[in-house]
């Protein structure tokens, strides 16, 4: 009996081991393209940027010298860099806050039934599909010194008195406001869709139970919905923050960092220094400053997300 069992179990173990091994091989094969892609398009350029930031390499030139940390010292000493660093944080956090708050409002509105919901949904998603270069052309008219529709609305509403006028792209503060507005407009659809998915995934029974227990709107949002949506919310915020932190398209298309370098973010400044200015080493040094912040953000957000999953 014993020997029979032994004979029958041995081939099973062998087959299981083979399947596990082939599973592992299959896993490696399936992962390889993604890993190769990341290595070639992320790791290699990153290492190259790190290397270039330690040199005086310039665009189009075949020669360079190692300059140690000189590029970093120069960059830190530059008031334009410090302003761009501050702008990057302002740009990221203000726009993400606005996106999450407004996305929440829109997602809640889209959960209700109303006439024209399909059209509303289409219009909300439209900015996500519009090429940013074309959209910015439209925004350039919206911020035009004479024809700005925002200014005319503010005038009609009485916000702007006689002789008062906003010159959106000619003023450092208003220039940043304009950049943030376009970015919020651009990111809002993505955030809305994610939040809508999160809200619809909460069972109705939970909401009904909270209503029976007398939970108000804010209690329901902060004590039930947000904790239940935390993993999804974390992904949305992480994606939004990383995307915003590294984005230069709106700044480049709208102001090119002007007036007088007051609206630069790190990514646009790196482009100005490294490509337009031809100082590749310095441009790389500016870009490298994005890395530690992004790493800290990623670790923080992923840990928060993981904790939420465990709970």
């Amino acid at each position: 009996m014993t020997s029979t069992t032994a004979v029958s179990v041995a081939p099973t173990l062998h087959a299981g081991e083979t399947i596990r091994r082939s599973d592992r091989r299959l896993g490696i094969v399936m992962l390889a393209p993604a890993l190769l892609y990341i290595a070639l398009l992320v790791a290699v350029p990153f290492l190259l940027a790190l290397f270039l930031s330690l040199t005086n390499s310039s665009a189009g030139s075949l020669e360079f010298s190692f300059v140690g940390l000189q590029n970093f010292e120069n960059v830190i000493a530059s008031p334009v860099f410090r302003r761009a660093l501050r702008n990057t944080f302002v740009f990221t956090f203000v726009s993400q806050l606005a996106v999450i708050v407004l996305g929440n409002v829109l997602a809640r509105a889209l959960m209700k039934s109303f006439h024209g919901k399909a059209i509303a949904r289409f219009l909300i998603l439209l900015p996500w599909a519009a090429p940013i270069s074309l959209a910015t052309l439209g925004w350039l008219w919206i911020f035009d010194s004479t024809f700005s529709v925002i200014n005319w609305l503010l005038k009609v509403a009485g916000w702007l008195g006689p002789g008062q006028w906003y010159y959106w792209l000619g003023d450092p503060t208003l220039g940043m406001v304009a950049v943030i507005m376009i970015h919020v407009w651009r990111m809002l659809p993505f955030s809305t869709v994610i939040l809508l998915a999160g809200l619809t995934s909460i069972p109705n029974e939970v909401r009904e139970a909270s209503a029976i227990d007398g939970a108000g709107l804010f209690s329901r949002i902060f004590r039930i919905e947000i904790p239940m949506m935390k993993p999804l919310l974390t992904v949305a915020v992480l994606f939004g923050v990383v995307f915003t932190f590294t984005d230069m398209s709106v700044v480049y298309l709208l102001t090119r960092g002007g007036p007088y370098n007051s609206t630069h973010v790190l990514a646009s400044l790196a482009f100005q220094e490294g490509v337009l200015g031809g100082d590749v080493g310095r441009g790389a040094a500016v870009a490298i400053f994005l890395v530690p912040v992004l790493v800290v953000l990623a670790i923080f957000m992923l840990r928060t997300s993981r904790r939420a999953e465990v709970v």
């Binding site: 290595a39 070639l40 290699v44 290492l47 190259l48 290397f51 040199t55 390499s57 310039s58 665009a59 189009g60 030139s61 075949l62 020669e63 360079f64 010298s65 190692f66 300059v67 120069n74 530059s78 008031p79 350039l140 035009d144 010194s145 004479t146 024809f147 006028w165 010159y167 959106w168 792209l169 000619g170 003023d171 450092p172 220039g175 102001t255 090119r256 960092g257 002007g258 007036p259 007088y260 370098n261 482009f271 100005q272 220094e273 490509v275 337009l276 200015g277 031809g278 100082d279």
Partner: protein, 434 residues
């Protein structure tokens, strides 16, 4: 400072790039960019150019020149067109850095990547001899270390563009001859509701084209002729800064400190401003799309300062990328393009929008067809490269592309004291010139 000597004694960053990209080499297995045999005729030549604000210019190239070359040689010309307004420089730098499959093209701001351009001295010298000789100022851009790295084409002239009807209504019958008169006229016009719109943002042409000539006219300079000594901090610069601050306050639309290049065209064509500094594209657009405005739009040279009248060049040149697999074929095409049989009609197709750097066209009949374009021809006589009086080298290009001088003026306009803006400008220059 240790010199880098990695990879078998080479000092080339390319070698590092090659090593770093070794893993990606297999991905290029299917690429069509391969060296050809010296005696083989290429199937095609890729020519890159920024789109022109004058559409007839591009149309002439596409519909006349390309088919003609193809019919004569059997070689296909692939025309890679890049949107105007600032994307050509990054694209060209990327072509040189990555050795992208482009043979030749329009090489704006070549000081950034001259090492990546082929010696075209033979073509430039022959074309010059054949067509009256080159304007000497442009040689400072095209000739580098004794060799022509590009063949000059033309200057996109920048002059004052103004509304003659509004100037007349304000009692200004002739365009101001000096910067002081320009301020006086602007003050009157702004009071009448027709301010100037003088670009001071991060554009590539319409800002430098009046601020640098103004600085030079007041006697200021950014860097001395030796290309080393920073000369920006001077009483002349301070006077120029004070003047621009006053001009902005008394005569300009507030918004113009943040304007990119298209903004003043838009403002002029929508009657927001009475004067700006621009190429002749505003008048060309007005005549085509807004005939009434076309009748009352006029041009004038930049006003003169205590040290004279200046203009700055926005030069267009053509070059051949040194990584082209077939230099002879690319050279043949460029030589053919610059032959009078081709190039004369090409210049005329855009109504001399690209004022030829060749003296043979100084008295070309095309200049007489629209007398209002004549100031743009005169720009060639008083025009300087933006680096002037310093050499047009990489560092001068960095100054331009980091908008150091432009930002000095723009900051002054919004209230920063003169001493501070000049000190900021000098600090920026020191980071570049050491």
């Amino acid at each position: 400072m240790a010199r880098y000597h990695g990879f078998e004694g080479s000092t080339s960053r390319r070698d590092f790039l090659k090593l770093a990209a070794a893993g990606a080499a297999s991905a290029s297995a299917g690429a069509t960019w391969r060296p050809r045999k010296a005696d083989a005729k290429p199937a095609q030549i890729t020519f890159m150019r920024e789109s022109s604000y004058v559409k007839e210019f591009d149309e002439h190239f596409k519909n006349v020149l390309i088919p003609r070359y193809q019919a004569e040689t059997g070689i296909k010309i692939v025309y890679e067109i890049i949107a105007a307004g600032g994307s050509a420089v990054p694209r060209t730098v990327a072509i040189v850095e990555s050795k992208a499959p482009v043979d030749a093209g329009w090489v704006q701001q070549e000081w950034l990547y001259r090492e990546g351009l082929l010696d075209v001295s033979d073509i430039a010298k022959d074309v010059g001899k054949q067509q009256g000789g080159w304007y000497s100022e442009i040689e400072g851009l095209s000739v580098w270390e004794g060799k022509w790295r590009s063949v000059p084409f033309g200057n996109i002239g920048q002059c004052m563009v103004y509304r003659r009807d509004w100037f007349d209504q304000a009692g200004i019958t002739a365009f101001p001859d000096t910067w002081e008169e320009f301020l006086e006229a602007g003050t009157k016009l702004k009071k009448a509701g027709h301010p100037y719109g003088m670009s001071m943002g991060h554009g590539f042409a319409d800002n430098n084209s009046w601020l640098l000539p103004l600085l030079w006219g007041f006697g200021g300079q950014v860097v001395a002729k030796d290309g080393k000594t920073i000369t920006l901090d001077s009483a002349e610069t301070a006077r120029a800064v004070d003047y621009v601050r006053k001009l902005y306050k008394d005569a300009c639309l507030d918004d113009c400190v943040g304007w990119l290049d298209p903004a003043n065209n838009k403002a002029f064509l929508t009657s927001q401003i009475s004067c700006t500094n621009n190429a002749m594209s505003i008048l060309i657009s007005a005549k085509r799309d807004l005939p009434d405005m076309g009748k009352v739009t006029d041009h004038a040279p930049n006003p003169k300062g205590p040290k004279g009248r200046f203009h700055s060049f926005v030069p267009v040149t053509h070059g051949i990328f040194s990584h082209t697999p077939d230099p002879a074929a690319a050279k043949h095409f460029l030589r053919w393009l610059m032959d009078p049989k081709q190039v004369a009609a090409w210049y005329r197709s855009a109504q001399m929008y690209h004022a030829p750097f060749l003296h043979a066209y100084d008295k070309d009949e095309e200049w007489n067809k629209e007398p209002r374009f004549k100031p743009y021809q005169k720009v060639l006589e008083t025009g300087k490269l933006v680096s002037w009086p310093a050499p047009a080298d990489r560092r001068a290009g960095e100054v331009v592309n980091k908008w150091i001088v432009i930002d000095m003026f723009a900051k002054a306009c919004t209230g920063t004291p003169t001493k501070t803006v000049i000190a900021d400008g000098v600090a920026g220059l020191k980071q570049i010139y050491g």
